[in-house]
């Protein structure tokens, strides 16, 4: 469900925004010549413009075409920029989700809890599920959260954009998992969650 939410948003960006933009910018490179239209007016007298007006129009057309060509050349860079923004959003979502777990753990008055059975023996207490099981499961939850975020489509992977970004990047661009694993903030949050579980068991 949550994965669908992310996928829909990225698809909206790709198909709804970028694809439209690519079409608009590509079409803006060609201006319909008024003269061609005038030739199409069969049987009507063609209106001749003054040379000054013609020159001004030509200069304006050249300027517009130059801008359009510049925009077209920048399409690849813009697509890459959007790809970076999407990856950044994925990283933020992952970080904020980890922080949310930590915040829920730190709450004094919780409405819910996760239970464990305590057994008393001569050697001491034992828990079922054990502390290590809790830690493993929470690590698994964190890994699943990463996977959900990571599985969202990449903007630069879309086949329609290959033509524009070809030659601009040597590899696949920013990698979500690498960024997350190298993030000190995320590693701290992850360690804090394990420590919190450990402390809770120690208190018992």
């Amino acid at each position: 469900m949550i994965k669908a939410h992310y996928t829909d948003r990225v698809d909206e960006i790709i198909t709804g925004r970028l694809a439209e933009l690519v079409t608009e910018v590509t079409e803006s490179r060609t201006l319909k010549e008024e003269e061609d239209l005038e030739h199409a007016k069969m049987g009507q007298a063609a209106k001749h413009k003054s040379m000054v007006l013609q020159k001004q129009e030509d200069a304006l057309k050249n300027r517009v075409l130059k801008l359009a060509r510049r925009n077209y050349q920048s399409l690849g860079t813009f697509i890459r920029l959007v790809d970076y923004m999407v990856v950044e959003t994925q990283v933020i979502i992952n970080q904020e989700s980890a922080d949310l777990i930590l915040a829920e753990m730190a709450k004094e008055q919780k409405k819910y809890g996760i239970q464990t059975a305590v057994s008393y023996a001569a050697e001491g207490m034992s828990f079922e599920p054990a502390k290590s099981e809790f830690i493993t499961q929470f690590e698994k939850i964190l890994a699943d959260m990463q996977s959900v975020t990571e599985e969202v489509n990449r903007v630069i992977s879309h086949q329609d954009f290959h033509h524009y970004i070809h030659g601009l990047i040597s590899d696949s661009g920013p990698r979500f998992r690498t960024i997350v694993e190298q993030s000190e903030q995320y590693q701290d949050s992850k360690a804090a969650i394990s420590k919190r579980i450990n402390d809770d068991f120690e208190e018992l």
Binding site: Y6, L21, N71, L81, T89, L100, Y112, T116, K140, D144
Partner: protein
């Protein structure tokens, strides 16, 4: 002696002593100073000095060529004027002199350096100083600082006694000889220049960015804003779902809920 600083001897006395020395050297080969002759010279000189002071103090008006006129002509700076009044007080026909600030290069600030205006009446139209035996009067008809709330109000006239003026002048000279104050104006101007250069560079960079940034171009801007909105919406849902029911659950149930 009147026109000389203290500790200096009248040139006439020197000439007389030199003449005596030459005579003595030609004669007996000694120094040639005769006690009586020296005493006579000194007494004569003292008498002449006393006469000059008497003349100066006794004069009723300043006429050209008189001793008092010469004294007045010798006063060129504010400091000389102050020393004149400190010496003679108000006993001479010279009751006051008008001064203006000494022109200095733009990188210097010398508010206590004055020069007399003489007969130049135009110099009295703006800011000027009147030095008398009582003290220094600072008259400023110039308008206040531009931009201040009192832009149209002239600065008030200020009076300082001669001793106060000299004390402040000396303090100012001592302070401005310290490195901090000595180079203050240069440092201030340099800082201003540096700030202006930095601001100019910043403006150039800002213009360059606004011209070349893709997302600010009219063709891209609406889509860029829309994409930002979609990404913000995407962030509103987290990958961790906080359990809504207030209950205690198994670890397995908790993990399954998150899937």
């Amino acid at each position: 002696m009147d026109e000389m600083d203290e500790g200096q001897m009248d040139p006439d006395v020197y000439q007389q002593m030199e003449a005596m020395e030459e005579e003595g050297a030609e004669g007996d080969g000694g120094y040639g100073y005769d006690y009586d002759a020296l005493k006579a010279i000194i007494e004569k000189n003292e008498d002449e000095g006393a006469d000059h002071v008497e003349k100066a103090r006794g004069a009723n008006y300043i006429s050209k060529g008189t001793y008092i006129w010469q004294l007045l002509a010798q006063i060129e700076t504010g400091e000389q004027a102050i020393s004149f009044f400190a010496k003679h007080g108000h006993n001479t026909p010279i009751k006051f002199v008008n001064c203006k600030r000494k022109p200095v290069p733009g990188d210097q600030f010398r508010p206590y350096d004055l020069v007399i205006t003489g007969d130049d009446e135009k110099a009295l139209e703006g800011e000027y100083f009147t030095i008398s035996a009582q003290g220094v009067v600072h008259v400023s008809r110039a308008e206040g600082r531009a931009g201040s709330s009192k832009a149209d109000a002239p600065a008030p006239t200020e009076f300082l006694s001669l001793s106060e003026w000299m004390q402040q002048s000396t303090l100012f000279n001592v302070l401005t000889s310290m490195n901090f104050f000595k180079h203050y104006i240069i440092g201030k101007v340099f800082k201003l220049w540096k700030g202006n250069v930095r601001f100019k560079t910043y403006n150039r960079t800002r213009q360059s960015l606004s011209r070349n940034l893709i997302q600010t171009r009219p063709a891209f801007l609406p889509n860029f804003l829309e994409i930002n909105r979609i990404l913000f919406e995407m962030q509103t849902r987290k990958t961790f779902a906080v359990p809504s029911n207030s209950r205690t659950m198994d670890l397995t149930d908790f993990v399954n809920d998150q899937k």
